[in-house]
Symmetry: none
Amino acid sequence: MTEHTTRLRADARRNREQIITTAREVFLEQGIHAPLEEIARRAGIGIATLYRRFPDRHTLVQQVALANLALVGEELTRATTAHPDAWGALTQLIRRLVELRLSIIMPMLLPGLEEDARGEDETLRAQRDRLYDQMEHLTRAAQQAGQLRQGVNPIDIWLGVIKLSRPLPVIGSDLNDLITERQLHLFLGGLQATTLDTTDPLRRPLTLDEIDHHLRTTD
Amino acid sequence: MTEHTTRLRADARRNREQIITTAREVFLEQGIHAPLEEIARRAGIGIATLYRRFPDRHTLVQQVALANLALVGEELTRATTAHPDAWGALTQLIRRLVELRLSIIMPMLLPGLEEDARGEDETLRAQRDRLYDQMEHLTRAAQQAGQLRQGVNPIDIWLGVIKLSRPLPVIGSDLNDLITERQLHLFLGGLQATTLDTTDPLRRPLTLDEIDHHLRTTD
Amino acid sequence: MTEHTTRLRADARRNREQIITTAREVFLEQGIHAPLEEIARRAGIGIATLYRRFPDRHTLVQQVALANLALVGEELTRATTAHPDAWGALTQLIRRLVELRLSIIMPMLLPGLEEDARGEDETLRAQRDRLYDQMEHLTRAAQQAGQLRQGVNPIDIWLGVIKLSRPLPVIGSDLNDLITERQLHLFLGGLQATTLDTTDPLRRPLTLDEIDHHLRTTD
Amino acid sequence: MTEHTTRLRADARRNREQIITTAREVFLEQGIHAPLEEIARRAGIGIATLYRRFPDRHTLVQQVALANLALVGEELTRATTAHPDAWGALTQLIRRLVELRLSIIMPMLLPGLEEDARGEDETLRAQRDRLYDQMEHLTRAAQQAGQLRQGVNPIDIWLGVIKLSRPLPVIGSDLNDLITERQLHLFLGGLQATTLDTTDPLRRPLTLDEIDHHLRTTD
DNA sequence: CATGAATGAGCCTTCATTCAT
DNA sequence: TATGAATGAAGGCTCATTCAT
């Protein structure tokens, strides 16, 4: 879209996209401090090529986040399409964002780091703000329907999703998934305007024994 | 408490405590992968001394967590002393735990890792379980008083506090504090049995502008 | 020979060879636990370059041994070319192997470690076995000529050479050379079918006085 | 015996002897570069106590060697007592020295290092020389009986035993024992005045297959 | 442009040796 | 005197980044 982008040769653009896709996967698995060489190798390119496209780790992280921002938009569209009611759309969106860990590198914080994103087009902030507006539309509708608690805005939701998504270190991914799921349930409960009965056996809390069991078997 | 501990020479015990205190701070700032040398330097000792006491990073992390476990107990006592009502005590405890980030290294998960803590007191698990019982006492009381939502247990609270406490990387601590405070508010709201009005201007959500401002000035 | 090898860039291959050559020297002087940094420094490269080629010490040792295996083959050819009689060829070969300490890292033991030598030529074992066959040919001929003792095989000779070649620690290389030479003489005498007169003044044993003298002056 | 020695308190002397005994074991297992702290721990004393007795590793090694010298004398007496014929005594002695690896730190080289052995009595050299004389007596007798090859002296035997005793690194102790036994057989064969038939099936050489097998199973 | 090579700096860990109790 | 504590220096290894082909 930008001059910079359109001037890239076809293979170069393919490389660029491949790097970002691979980087997202690796960042998810190992965190944003994963070796860049691992990303290059998995992307099937040389390390120097990666550096040509992304002069340092910070830039790469930002670009991945930027790509995530687009994906969040897609999920939002998908959620509103699937659910006529705002609350239904909102909860699907939140669930999906947590599932995909799309927010792991905090797309909504990006514009503040804009200065580093040299060469990127000016629409970045606009893109985020448009997304914000779409979500705000959704939250207002849900609040008017009496389902989303008053006083909550998209930022609350984004940041909540980010905190939920971040896996706890040391413990295995199985336990992390259990924990995230349960906390997501609590989070959604907290967002709801009317207090639900959470004694639903399918939504029961974790116990110490379960945790110990997971720690033992995963260890 | 253990023979091992009491047999340490006075200066050695002082060092040991200094290391744990410093490690807690450094882990809070940089995560549990912070260079051990940094901890040693800040504690004013040689790196080898640190290794003599804690043969590897894992052991050190555990010991810090173990120390935290004791501090959580103290905060619990303090909270129940200060507040005759269970909900008041519970919310003070949660606020304090988040403030002190006492749970950042997950004390309640410790017993599952017990096997590594050779030579450590057999009372470790008992200590955790006692703490759990105390908190369960508190949560039940709060539920009977109709203030804490049904279906919530101490694990939910501990894990929520842990997720809340973990600072987001890259962004400064000021913004992190704002975010944590707001999410804590939402978390407490979610725990409450009766939905409160969260339009309290003192509890208003963050805005994109605020975030951008912080990112710019902190950067 | 392998694809891997031929695909190396010219400068990289030069480095690789330089490392192996240098490593052989350093291993001879200091044993196979010599600091890898010393090898890198002497080879005129960075430590990381050494690690790029040889991920750990074990790999490097093996590759040095593999290179030695080739050199042993060359010495064998040279010896048989120079001496029409099998015993003459055999003794020259043994002397040369001891002189060059080619066997110090036990080339003939390599195939047993084969599994670690991932990506290495399948011909490694074949190479060793071919060498064994050539030496067996030589030993049989020498035995039929009545000059090599019955019941001795190439393994005996290889292992004898290895034990002879290993310098004794602490004492200087001058004394080590004297000792090795004398023990080589005894070893060859032991291999011979007919007992020779070893009172040859040129082949007289060491004395305590000589040893003391060397220890004093070298120290 | 020396002033130094007699002045030691009873417990101090016990410590000293315990250290030397332990050091011999550890040196045998791990080589003379084994951590001194391991020796202290196994000996049941503090590291500083070890340093008080032996200011550095070199000194300790020497003292262990000196102790070994005495043990060699005992074995010599035992061998001559058990065998009326010189050759029988000599071969038993050699076998025992190899078995016990008594020579692993080269007792006979000690006198040359005398200067470091401050405080030790002047009889050290005399002790070694007496041992030499005893062995020379034995070798002469064996030579006169026509069983030991001419031109061989005790130094040859000591040094041969030392070379035989040193285990090859990396490979396991089982294979090392096999190798040492076989090379000892060859060594003794080389010492003998009359050539024996070495096709005795009990004394057959190792094969490549056996070596490979050991390397695979021990690895 | 794309690549793989090379590099130095950083952290981890061990151990010989000295110091304080 | 005996002890355990403390320490620095050395070596192992990894990884971000630059360079040469």
